[in-house]
């Protein structure tokens, strides 16, 4: 596999960006400056990164309640994201959406979603637009293991399969839906097994190996672009933090968490890049420092931004 150096470095930068962004979010949430429900992606960075490394600006994604990683990977602006989390007027949604509803339609980001399973049919519709218009755009639908038990999963995969839509369904199997172990929430070991119900490829990949994700997603996206229809791609991964900020995670053994922390996708990729001779340790440090500064700026932007004014509350309900 010959991936350009530039792309490899982008992947590294992107994973680091997600990690540092979210660690900062956790801090500001704990400090009471970020509001509402915040679901962090820490530990799962390789998935969004590996998938989106294959996407173009004009491709679409639908995201989930755990959306920051997807948005960053699809090109989301850190300042606008942070300002939104801070509830400010300058945020992506003018403060109206918050973490669970960040979107950037211009970038093809059709929104995080507070409804588990809400994105399945929406991504399918975006795929339909591509096919209807005769373009080679694709739509990627991110979703969790828990979400795959929702009826919309079935309906969307079925529709995308019969219409051969360019939709890639990317399952982020982090082994839990809140406290519900995937082992208990479904009777099959792999979400990918469900592809059989729609006669589409079902692929399992190590979701903490960004290059493996990149490659597998690349295949699926190529298939979609060339008119061969949807794929169900399952990325096995793990979230290091609670389901939402504040969750004491009584439902999973500490050892399990420790085991997975050994498979942290970022140091792992950093090592690989070092071995490839692409990234020396000091370069990696420099990148992290640089990104940390970008996040400082995003926080500063957010903190200094005005709150929405009260009259704005009734704006944006209807389009003219």
């Amino acid at each position: 596999m010959a991936i350009e150096k530039e792309k490899l470095l982008w992947m590294f930068r992107n994973m680091v960006t997600i990690r540092l962004f979210e660690e900062r979010v956790a801090e500001y949430f704990a400090a009471g400056k970020i509001y509402g429900f915040v679901h962090l992606y820490v530990g799962e960075e390789a998935t969004a990164t590996g998938v989106c490394a294959n996407l173009r600006k004009d491709d679409y994604i639908t995201s989930t309640h755990r959306g920051h990683g997807h948005l960053i990977s699809k090109g989301g602006d850190l300042k606008l994201m942070m300002a939104e989390l801070f509830g400010r007027k300058t945020g992506y949604c003018k403060g109206k959406g918050g973490s669970m509803h960040i979107a950037d339609v211009e970038l093809g980001i059709l929104g995080a979603n507070g409804i588990v399973g809400g994105g399945f049919p929406i991504a399918t519709g975006a795929g339909l637009t591509a096919k209807y218009n005769g373009t080679d755009q694709v739509a990627v639908c991110f979703f969790g293991d828990g979400a795959s038990n929702q009826g919309t999963f079935h309906e969307a995969l079925n529709l995308a399969s019969i219409w051969k839509l360019p939709v890639v369904f990317v399952n982020e199997n982090n082994m839990y839906g809140i406290s519900m172990s995937q082992k208990k929430s479904m009777n099959v070991p792999d979400v990918a097994a469900r592809a059989a119900a729609y006669n589409v490829p079902g692929v399992v990949v190590d979701g903490n190996d960004v290059l493996a994700v990149y490659e597998a997603a690349g295949e699926a996206i190529k298939r979609a672009r060339s008119g061969e229809g949807p794929t169900l791609l399952e990325c096995k991964t793990y979230r290091y933090r609670g389901h939402f900020e504040g969750d004491p995670t009584v439902y999973r053994p500490k050892e399990e968490v420790e085991e997975w922390k050994k498979k942290d996708p970022i140091p792992r990729f950093e090592n690989e890049l070092a071995k490839m001779g692409i990234l020396a340790p000091d370069q990696a440090q420099a990148i992290k420092a640089e990104i940390s500064k970008l996040i400082d700026e995003a926080v500063k932007f957010a903190e200094e931004s005005p709150w929405p004014s009260l009259e704005e509350i009734t704006e944006d309900v209807y389009a003219v």
């Binding site: 509803h101 049919p121 929406i122 519709g125 637009t129 079925n158």
Partner: protein, 325 residues
Amino acid sequence: MRKLTMLKAINEALRQEMRRDPKVYVAGEDVGIFGGCFGVTAGLIEEFGPDRVRDTPITESAIVGSSVGAAATGLRPVAELMFIDFIGVAMDQIFNQAAKMRYMFGGKAKVPLVLRMPCGAGGSAAAQHSQCLEAWLMHVPGLKVVAPSMPYDAKGLLISSIRDNNPVIFIEHKFLYGVEGEVPEESYTIPLGKADVKKEGKDVTIIATMAMVHRALEAAADMEKDGISAEVVDPRTLQPLDNETIVNSIKKTHRAVIVHEAVKFAGPGAEIAAMIAEEAFDYLDAPIKRVTAPFTPVPFSPPLEKEFIPSKEKIASAVKALLQE
């Protein structure tokens, strides 16, 4: 002028808009060769082909949700739910996704989507195929709700709905499909949010919706013989509601009777009554009456179903009781 049934008027509106704008497509169960359960989409697949007249599986969440995704990315879907009674399996995509997307995204999305859905009793289709559920949809910020009573209105309002940049619920009372009326051949629009006074009068204002507009007009004609002059107002659009036309009528008549087929409790007439009680209280000479179905699921058996649907007699007697106040 040429007369058309409401069914044909709706079909013509779809056809004309599909001709005008290649982004408009139709989707739903059996909308293709079958022409839809009631025949509303008949002939469209012959003219526009299966890409623009999309037969779907039985999958209402995906019908609505894929339309939301398609609308947000530039198409203009007109999706059909075979019966409004089926919204229960697709409600999330209607109220949490389609309706709220724009607001949640800070005004940065546009969801130009029409959901057509037949409603109403009258054919012994029983409890799960006969409901009037417009009240739910009226309660959702971000949706518009259109509910015509006449072929002319149906055509003009549907064309406006398709051109609107918001999700519009277009409710078709299935027992109006056969009603005939004058309908211009050319394309025309009727603005959403404008009520229509179907009959002028001075003693009482009857605000009626969909099939009940016809019952109200019949009751008004009957009462005319008794010297009672009833004004009949058809809101036509339930969200936004044209408060002004309703209030103006009450300023003249000082009495209001609201008629709908939906059950009374927390029904569409509750909002109309509450609005009047808030905005036109000083002009009222009598309580606001509602004539509606009883608070039951729609029964199957013909005599029970007939009893369920408000009749012109019930409307007239409500009016007369009010005039005695």
